[in-house]
């Protein structure tokens, strides 16, 4: 008798284990539980408040939020392979959306009401095969966020040309201020930088970024088609004007250095301004394009649709319906206002009002309005080219572990390999 009970209980334990292994997301309270995944590590409170507002209006839906910064791609791929993608995903624009749409992981949102409310120029960021697979959200710029007070104190003119920037850095250095707060530890920052300078340099060769990407995909050109001596000269200039221990500085260190006034400038996306302002509420900052040329007209802001929200096609029908409800809710006037006031980012909806964001965001909109912008070409590179060849290659160049010609060669080789796969 005892034997039978013992064996039976052992088997019961085993079977419970296998049942838990095949977890079912059945919620007994009747609520639909969604998982939202986001990657922006700055101002997380803002996004959480927005989600809370949605949950308050829709008590039958609850959203669990999950963040994995810096290596967003890794976590998402792993989940996709398990068939457990989060219902709502904040994704980088262009190639990330296209990659997932191509494999079928995203729901076609073309006919949703939210997508009819966005500005038409933001649609290419989420379009694959003529259909939209995500909702474009914030329009962000990458450039120089500079401390206006320090510039005023040393009578430095706001850099509009490369020469101005050289002059500004010399003045700052002679006054013991580090010109650029470094972010060399995080490879995405250097990846952004090299592609930003590269895209700007395409202008003087009269190659449009779209044509460049198309030619690279067809194997007709090389990443070194721009003036590479100039490209790497600017990278060396950037490195020479950073903190000495630049390779040890991550996001937190960069924010500290800039907010405390140890450095006068940060090359980063405008999203970084919000956290710096939290560290130093008295921060008086402006936003300018990184001047690559001495001709002011050619120095445009590197701005494009940055983050988007996609809905996983792998979740159940109720979860998909609830996720689409959230997407559509984001386009309501109330949610649009919350996005600006809470998350402190711009959005891509028509008639957006961003005056409340103040300062640097004003500069962003004015600069783009006056001079236009350079699109984020890196978003259209095949994802592994940007993730590995550009980000890691540029970082290794900055740390003097790789030569300039090697960086270009690796980007070319990886691009050809990626294009051949298609």
């Amino acid at each position: 008798m005892k034997k039978i009970i013992a064996v039976a209980s052992a088997l019961a334990v085993l079977s419970c284990g296998t049942v838990f292994a095949q977890n079912a997301k059945k919620d007994d309270s009747g609520k639909v539980k969604l998982e939202m995944y986001y990657y922006k590590q700055e101002n997380q409170e803002g996004l959480k408040n927005i989600v809370k507002a949605f949950e308050a209006e829709n008590p039958d839906i609850s959203i669990d939020m999950l963040i994995i910064p810096n290596d967003a791609d890794a976590a998402m791929s792993a989940r996709a392979a398990q068939g457990a993608l989060p219902a709502i995903m904040q994704m980088q624009s262009y190639s990330r959306v296209k990659e997932y749409a191509e494999k079928g992981y995203l729901v076609d949102l073309s006919k949703e009401q939210a997508l009819s409310k966005v500005v038409p120029s933001s649609l290419p960021a989420v379009t694959y095969n003529g259909k939209q697979y995500a909702l474009p959200m914030d329009f962000a710029g990458i450039g120089i966020i500079y401390n206006k007070d320090i510039f005023k104190k040393y009578h430095i003119k706001t850099p509009a040309t490369y020469r101005d920037l050289e002059k500004a850095c010399k003045t700052l250095k002679s006054n013991n201020i580090v010109p650029f707060a470094a972010l060399l530890k995080e490879n995405w920052s250097v990846g952004h930088f090299i592609t930003m300078i590269h895209t700007a340099l395409l202008q003087e060769k009269n190659i449009s970024p779209d044509k460049f990407v198309a030619d690279m995909n067809a194997g007709k050109t090389s990443y070194g088609v721009v003036d590479t001596a100039k490209l790497f000269k600017i990278m060396d200039f950037y490195r020479a004007n950073m903190n000495d221990n630049a390779a040890e500085m991550g996001g937190g260190e960069q924010q500290q250095s800039f907010a405390k006034g140890e450095s006068a400038m940060m090359v980063n996306g405008l999203w970084a301004y919000v956290d710096a302002k939290k560290l130093n509420p008295k921060l008086n900052a402006g936003f300018i394009p990184f001047p690559v040329y001495n001709d002011e007209k050619l120095n445009k802001l590197y701005a494009d649709v940055d983050s988007t929200f996609g809905v996983s096609s792998q979740s159940t029908k109720e979860e998909q319906a609830a996720s689409i409800k959230f997407i559509n809710w984001l386009s309501t006037p109330k949610a649009q206002k919350l996005w600006v006031s809470e998350y402190k980012l711009t959005n891509s909806f028509k008639g957006g009002d961003f005056t409340s964001l103040g300062g640097p965001f004003d500069d962003l909109m004015k600069s783009v309005g006056a001079k236009g912008s350079l699109p984020w070409a890196f978003s259209q590179y095949p994802s592994e080219v940007f993730e590995d060849a550009c980000k890691n290659g540029a970082q290794q160049y900055m740390m003097k572990a790789r030569s300039a010609s090697d960086v270009i060669k690796t980007i070319d080789a990886q691009w050809q390999a990626a294009a051949a796969k298609k």
Binding site: A78, D236, E248, N294, D295, S313, T316, N392, A401, Q414
Partner: protein
């Protein structure tokens, strides 16, 4: 055996069988799956069974290839036809459903382009050296200055004397460089003389009288003049230089004073060009990058030695019966309780903020000479507590009678250590070595949290971190899994040899 056979059979059933089942489920099965993945070119994202496929394609590639009706029905149960875009779609399938679907798909011989069988190709690449050059140890030349970039405004004393001057072959090279840089005591570095700084040299050009009201004189014409002069200077082409100067002066109709400013600027840039060429030629440093395999072995060797020596020393010290021994044991064990990410955070703070302030040396963790040793240090600090416990247990297993007998016989402390402690602690050493070798070869989280991808630049990427980047950044999950299998075999063989040789030397009390 005193117990009846039926009881042993009972114990076998109740304890061994569940363990074997769990072992098969959670180790053997995923392992076999891993081998299967390593034989493909999977990119980590493409599923084996398509999520969406156009109707005609689906019918010809999948449905028509299935001969059994039950298979076709099962597939059509999972896939639904979307009339809007005329394609078959499915939502996520998990567990047994998924396996059945994949089994059916195997019969159709359909394979997506990024998830198809490639056999042993990945393994061949690893062993014949066709993976990234970062993988293997290599010696490379570090070009610390490129002539087309700005001259460094300051070079540290160590670099100037050991790397720049030492590499000068001729006296001429040495004099060119020495003339350009002057030692500044305050910064403890060699500072560039202003007459070589291209910014200082070109400043007068922006101030000449014509720049105010001449219409042809704009930023871009000045830009192209300067870059033309610099190109000619680097090419040591005096004729091209003169040509640039003449055409600039005549195009902009410059007056005598402005013309002479332009000529002297061009001359200074020409001189600076010689310095740039020389510095580029001379400032090349040969560096050794341990590569992924090299660093993994380095890390394993030194952290294992470090951890075991320190743990053994601590165990000896804390077995002597001193006051507060128990408290000290807890304190030394504490680092092991912390998660690797917290450990990384603590030590990062130390290396980035505290040590530079205290020692005056600015770069610790980002200096390629120091990084490997610092990582070993942190790993030893974190790991030694655990092995201290193992050694303590081993020490306490040494029977006191033998030790006392030796004391009575007049053996000194050193002799007792050498003839009693060392041989009898061998089982504990075996276990510690085994565990620490396996752990060191698998280390990832500490190094990823401390330095992330900068490891490629400092030559401190452990094997598992390389696998991680392969799978997720380079989108080569098949290759990453192949490397993981290679690592598994390496650990298996290494620890197997270690256990076998040491078990033979163990003696019982």
């Amino acid at each position: 055996m005193v117990e009846p056979k039926s009881k042993t059979a009972f114990y076998f059933t109740i304890f061994i069988i569940p363990c074997v089942v769990l072992y098969i489920l959670f180790f053997i099965a995923p392992f076999i799956k891993g081998i299967n993945i390593s034989l493909t070119n999977w990119d980590g994202l493409t599923p084996k069974t398509p999520i969406i496929m156009e109707k005609a394609q689906f019918e010809s590639l999948v449905l028509e290839k299935l001969t059994k009706k039950s298979d076709r029905d099962y597939v059509l149960k999972i896939y639904s036809l979307d009339p809007e875009d005329n394609s078959y779609k499915r939502i996520a399938v998990k567990g047994l459903e998924r396996r059945k679907l994949e089994r059916i798909f195997r019969k159709t011989k359909y394979e997506p382009a990024q998830n198809k069988f490639v056999g042993l190709e990945n393994y061949k690449k690893v062993f014949t050296g066709k993976v990234d050059p970062d993988f293997y140890p290599r010696i490379y030349s570090q070009q610390k200055y490129t002539a087309t970039s700005d001259l460094p405004s300051a070079i540290t004393r160590k670099e100037f004397e050991k790397e720049v001057l030492k590499n000068c072959r001729t006296a001429e090279e040495r004099s060119i460089i020495k003339n350009a840089y002057t030692f500044d005591n305050e910064q403890n570095a060699y500072v560039l003389n202003p007459e070589y700084d291209s910014f200082e040299i070109t400043t007068p050009l922006y101030d000449i009288a014509e720049s105010e009201h001449n219409s042809t004189f704009d930023e871009s014409s000045l830009d192209s003049f300067i870059s033309g002069v610099e190109t000619a200077s680097l090419a040591r082409n005096k004729d091209a230089l003169a040509e640039e100067v003449e055409s600039f002066i005549s195009e902009n109709k410059l007056s005598g004073e402005s013309a002479s400013t332009v000529k002297s600027t061009a001359g200074s840039l020409y001189t600076a060009g010689e310095l740039r060429n020389t510095l580029e030629k001379v400032w090349v440093v040969k560096r050794m990058n341990m590569g992924v395999t090299g660093f993994t072995i380095f890390f394993a060797i030194f952290s294992v030695i470090g951890i075991n020596l320190l743990a053994f020393a601590l165990a000896l010290a804390l077995d002597t019966g001193i006051h507060g021994q128990k408290v000290l044991r807890s304190i030394f064990f504490l680092p092991n309780v912390l998660s690797m990410v917290i450990v990384a955070l603590i030590w990062s703070l130390l290396f980035v903020q505290l040590l530079p302030a205290v020692s005056g040396v600015k770069e610790w963790i980002s200096d390629p000479h120091k990084t490997p040793w610092l990582l070993v240090l942190v790993s030893v600090w974190q790991g030694c507590g655990y092995y201290m416990i193992v050694y303590l247990a081993g020490l306490q297993n040494i029977p006191t009678e033998i030790v006392e007998a030796a004391k009575i016989d007049g053996a000194s402390a050193v002799q007792r250590f050498h003839y009693i402690t060392m041989p009898m602690i061998l089982p504990a050493v075996t276990i510690s070595l085994f565990l620490s070798i396996a752990n060191a070869l698998k280390s990832f989280d500490l190094i990823y949290a401390m330095i992330g991808p900068t490891g490629y630049a400092t030559g401190t990427v452990p094997f598992v971190m390389d696998i991680y980047f392969d799978a997720f950044a380079k989108k080569q999950a098949g290759m990453a899994t192949a490397k993981a299998m290679v690592l598994f075999v390496a650990i298996f063989v290494l620890t197997g040899i270690q256990l076998f040789t040491m078990k033979r030397k163990e003696i019982e009390a």
